[in-house]
C-alpha cells in the first residue's frame, strides 16, 4: 500500500515537473545562463578545487563558444572557506538575487550538503565536482544533484577490492574522526567483508593530527596485512610519511582511500612509491587527457589538474550541451536532457548520468610511481587497471534514493 502511495506521489510529481518544465521551456531566464562556482580559495582544499575549478569551468564556457541559444554565458565564483553556513548563504544569494542558474565546484561534503539543500529547494542544479560523500545520490539525493567525479564507494571499491582479492585479508584503519572518515571506513569495511577479509583494528584520529607515529605502532602491533588510510589531504600525507619512517610499509601495504594528485606530489617518491589508489581522472592517461591538461596547465602556472578540475570542466560542458538541446535553462528540462545523453569526453569514459544523479563513469586504479620510474615531477601515477563504472559505483537499487527508485 505504502509503495503504491509512493509511486502515485512520484508520478504526480513527475507530471507536475513536466508541466512546469514545458511552461518555462521558452528560452532562457534573464536572457543569460549564469554559472556559480563555489570553491575553497585559501584553505586545505585550495589545490583540490579552488582557482583550478573556476578556470576549468571558464575553459568549458570558452570551448562552448561563450554563448548558448544566442545568449551569453556568465561565470561567477566565491570562496566558501569550507564553512557550510557561508556556502549555503552564498548559494542562496546567488539564486535569489543574482540569477545564478547552476552551481558547480562544491568542495567538502559538509559544505556541499548545505548547498545542495538550498539549490534543490529553489529547483537549481548542483554539479558536484569535488565531494566524496555518497549521500548526495542516496539518502540525501534530490532531482537536482549531479555528482560527477568520484565518491566514497567508488574509491573504496577501486582500491580495497583488488587488494583483498590478492590475499591480503587483515586490515587496520587509520580514520579521520569526522563524517567523511567514518563514511569512508564503513563503506570500505563492507567491501573488505564481502570479499572475505576482516578488520583487525583501527583508530579514529582527530582531523589535523600532526603526529601519527603512535597510530602506526598500534597498526604494526595489530599484525594487519594492509593499513587503510581513511583520511585526506595533510592527514593522509602525514600518516603515510610516518608509516614509511617506522618501517610499517615493509611489513604491510598502505592503501590511501582518497588521494589527489597534489597530495601524491607532496610525498617523497621513495616513501609513497608503490601505493595503490583510485582516481576518477589522471592527466597523463592518453592523448585526449594530455591535450586538455596542457591547456589547463597553461592557465594555472603549469600545475597539473586533479580530478575535480577535470570533473568541473566535463560537468559544465555536459550541462551547456543539455541547455542547447533542451532549448531552455529550466532545471527540470535540462536535467532530463543531461540524464538521457551519454557523457563521453576526455574525462568521462562510458559515462552516463543515472536517475539518482550519480554520474557513472570508468574509474582508474593507479599506483604511485617510484623515483626511478618518473620522467619528471608531474609523472606520478602508473595506471594499473580501468574499473568499469557499474562495478565502481554503488548500484541505484542499493542506494536508497527514493525518487529515483520509484521512477525505475
Amino acid at each position: 500500500m505504502k509503495v503504491m502511495q509512493k509511486t502515485l506521489l512520484a508520478t504526480a510529481m513527475a507530471a507536475t515537473m513536466a508541466i512546469t518544465g514545458s511552461a518555462n521551456a521558452a528560452g532562457l531566464s534573464d536572457d543569460k545562463v549564469k554559472i556559480g562556482v563555489l570553491v575553497d580559495m585559501g584553505g586545505v582544499y585550495a589545490d583540490i578545487c579552488g582557482q583550478g575549478c573556476v578556470e576549468a569551468v571558464k575553459m568549458a564556457v570558452e570551448d562552448f563558444g561563450g554563448s548558448v541559444l544566442g545568449k551569453p554565458i556568465e561565470v561567477v565564483s566565491a570562496d566558501t572557506q569550507l564553512k557550510p553556513d557561508i556556502g549555503s548563504a552564498i548559494a542562496r544569494q546567488w539564486i535569489e538575487q543574482e540569477q545564478v542558474d547552476v552551481i558547480n565546484g562544491a568542495v567538502a561534503s559538509s559544505v556541499t550538503g548545505a548547498v545542495t539543500k538550498v539549490a534543490s529547494d529553489a529547483k537549481k542544479i548542483t554539479l558536484i565536482a569535488a565531494s566524496a560523500s555518497h549521500a548526495f545520490t542516496t539518502k540525501a539525493c534530490t532531482p537536482y544533484n549531479a555528482h560527477w567525479t568520484y565518491d566514497v564507494v567508488s574509491l573504496a571499491n577501486g582500491t580495497v577490492k583488488p587488494i583483498v582479492q590478492s590475499g591480503k585479508k587483515k586490515w587496520f584503519f587509520v580514520t579521520a574522526d569526522y563524517a567523511f572518515g567514518h563514511a569512508l571506513e564503513s563503506v570500505a569495511t563492507g567491501v573488505i567483508k564481502e570479499n572475505g577479509g576482516e578488520v583487525v583494528g583501527g583508530v579514529k584520529a582527530p582531523l589535523g593530527t600532526t603526529d601519527f607515529s603512535s597510530y602506526m605502532l598500534q597498526a604494526q602491533a595489530s599484525g594487519a596485512d594492509v593499513i587503510a588510510l581513511a583520511n585526506a589531504g595533510t592527514d593522509m600525507v602525514n600518516s603515510l610519511k610516518t608509516a614509511a619512517e617506522f618501517g610499517v610499509t615493509e611489513t604491510a601495504d598502505v592503501a590511501g582511500l582518497l588521494v589527489f594528485t597534489p597530495n601524491a606530489q607532496a610525498l617523497d617518491p621513495n616513501v609513497a612509491g608503490g601505493m595503490k589508489l583510485t582516481t576518477g581522472f589522471y592527466w597523463d592517461m592518453d592523448d585526449e587527457t594530455r591535450a586538455w591538461s596542457k591547456r589547463y596547465m597553461a592557465r594555472m602556472d603549469n600545475k597539473i589538474p586533479a580530478m575535480p578540475h577535470a570533473g568541473a570542466y566535463s560537468s559544465t560542458m555536459h550541462y551547456l550541451k543539455a541547455v542547447q538541446a533542451a532549448g531552455t535553462d529550466d532545471s527540470d528540462a535540462v536535467m532530463a536532457k543531461m540524464k538521457e545523453t551519454p557523457v563521453e569526453d576526455f574525462f568521462s569514459r562510458n559515462g552516463y548520468l543515472r536517475a539518482d544523479g550519480r554520474m557513472v563513469h570508468d574509474m582508474l586504479q593507479v599506483r604511485i610511481k617510484k623515483a626511478d620510474e618518473r620522467a619528471n615531477g608531474d609523472d606520478i601515477f602508473a595506471i594499473e587497471q580501468v574499473i568499469k563504472g557499474d562495478d565502481a559505483f554503488l548500484p541505484l537499487s542499493k542506494g536508497g534514493c527514493e525518487f529515483a527508485m520509484a521512477k525505475n
Binding site: V44, D177, V203, K204, G208, S214, Y215, K241
Partner: protein
C-alpha cells in the same frame, strides 16, 4: 608478553617513547614562545607561521640553492632570526609600550599574511622533503622500531633546550637579559644597550621556531597550515608551564608529549583535546601555571 592490568607493557613503552619524542618537539617550540613572552612580554602569535617558514626554508634551500639538511639546520634558523629581528624593529617596537593585546593582534595578522602568501605561492597540499641519508633507517628496540631520525629529534631538541636554559638562567649574559627586561631604565644607566638585547632576544626566540621547522620538514607535511595546527597546542603548553617560565616550558612540553601519547593509545579520539583539559585543570588550581610565580 608482559602485561599489567590487561595493558601490554611492550606497547606502552613504545607509546611512552613516542610521547617523549613529540614532547621534545613541543618543548623546543614552547621554549621560543616562553622566552619571547617571559622576557619581552610579547604574545607572539606568529611563532607558528615562522615555524612553517623554517620548514619551507629547508625545502627551498634544498631545491633552489642545493643546501643539504645539515646546512639548512644551521642557516635557516639564522635567516628566520633575521626576519624576526626585522619584524621586531619595524613592526613590534612601535607598539612595545601598548597593551599586550596589540602585539597579539599584530603578530596574529602577520601569521595570517604569511600563511596566505605561502598558500598562494606553493598551494595548500604541501611539498616533499626527504629524511637526510645519514639518518635514514632505524634501530630495533625490544618493544618498538625506533627510526634514527626520531632519535635525532629528541637528542637535538634536548641539547638546544638545555643550552638555552643554561644561557638564560646561569650565565652573565642571561643575567643582563633578565635584568634588562625587569628594569630597563636602571640597566641603561649602567651602560647596557637594552633595545639591542630585546631585539636579539626576539631574534633568538623566533630562531628556535626556525630550528623546529627544519627538524619537522622530513617527518611532517611541509604545508602552509602546519604552523597554525601546532601553535594552539604549544600555547596551551606555555600556559600550563607558567607564562614566561623557561624551565617550565621545557618540562611541560615533554610531559604533555607523554600525556598526549598515552591518550593516543587509550582513547585516540581525545588526543587533540587532552592538553586543553590539563590546561583547564591547571588554571583552576594554579592560575600562574605549574612553574610560574604568582604575580
Amino acid at each position: 608478553m608482559a602485561t599489567f592490568l590487561g595493558i601490554n607493557l611492550f606497547a606502552l613503552s613504545g607509546q611512552l617513547l613516542i610521547g617523549l619524542i613529540n614532547g621534545s618537539f613541543y618543548a623546543l617550540l614552547a621554549l621560543g614562545l616562553a622566552i619571547i613572552f617571559g622576557l619581552l612580554k610579547i604574545i607572539n602569535f606568529s611563532q607558528g607561521a615562522l615555524y612553517m617558514l623554517g620548514a619551507f626554508g629547508a625545502y627551498l634551500g634544498l631545491n633552489h640553492l642545493g643546501l643539504s639538511y645539515w646546512w639548512a639546520l644551521l642557516l635557516v634558523p639564522l635567516a628566520i632570526a633575521a626576519i624576526g629581528i626585522l619584524m621586531e624593529r619595524t613592526l613590534i617596537r612601535p607598539i612595545a609600550n601598548e597593551d599586550h593585546l596589540y602585539s597579539l593582534l599584530l603578530t596574529f595578522g602577520i601569521a595570517l599574511i604569511l600563511q596566505g602568501l605561502f598558500t598562494h605561492w606553493f598551494g595548500s597540499s604541501g611539498l616533499p622533503y626527504a629524511i637526510p641519508e645519514e639518518l635514514k633507517g632505524g634501530t630495533k628496540l625490544p618493544f618498538m622500531y625506533l627510526p634514527n631520525y626520531r632519535a635525532w629529534i629528541i637528542v637535538f631538541s634536548l641539547v638546544v633546550c638545555a643550552g638555552t636554559w643554561y644561557l638564560i638562567e646561569k650565565t652573565k649574559l642571561g643575567a643582563y637579559l633578565r635584568a634588562g627586561t625587569e628594569n630597563p631604565q636602571l640597566m641603561q644607566a649602567f651602560g647596557i644597550n637594552v633595545p639591542l638585547i630585546v631585539t636579539l632576544t626576539y631574534g633568538f626566540g623566533v630562531g628556535l621556531a626556525g630550528v623546529a621547522g627544519v627538524l619537522a620538514a622530513p617527518v611532517y607535511s611541509v604545508s602552509p597550515e602546519m604552523g597554525s595546527n601546532i601553535l594552539i597546542v604549544v600555547f596551551a603548553i606555555v600556559v600550563i608551564g607558567g607564562m614566561g617560565s623557561i624551565g617550565g616550558a621545557i618540562l611541560t612540553g615533554l610531559a604533555m608529549g607523554v600525556v598526549e601519547g598515552l591518550t593516543k593509545y587509550f582513547y585516540p579520539e581525545a588526543s587533540n583535546t587532552v592538553i586543553f583539559l590539563v590546561m583547564v585543570l591547571v588554571i583552576l588550581t594554579r592560575p600562574a601555571g605549574l612553574f610560574g610565580k604568582p604575580a
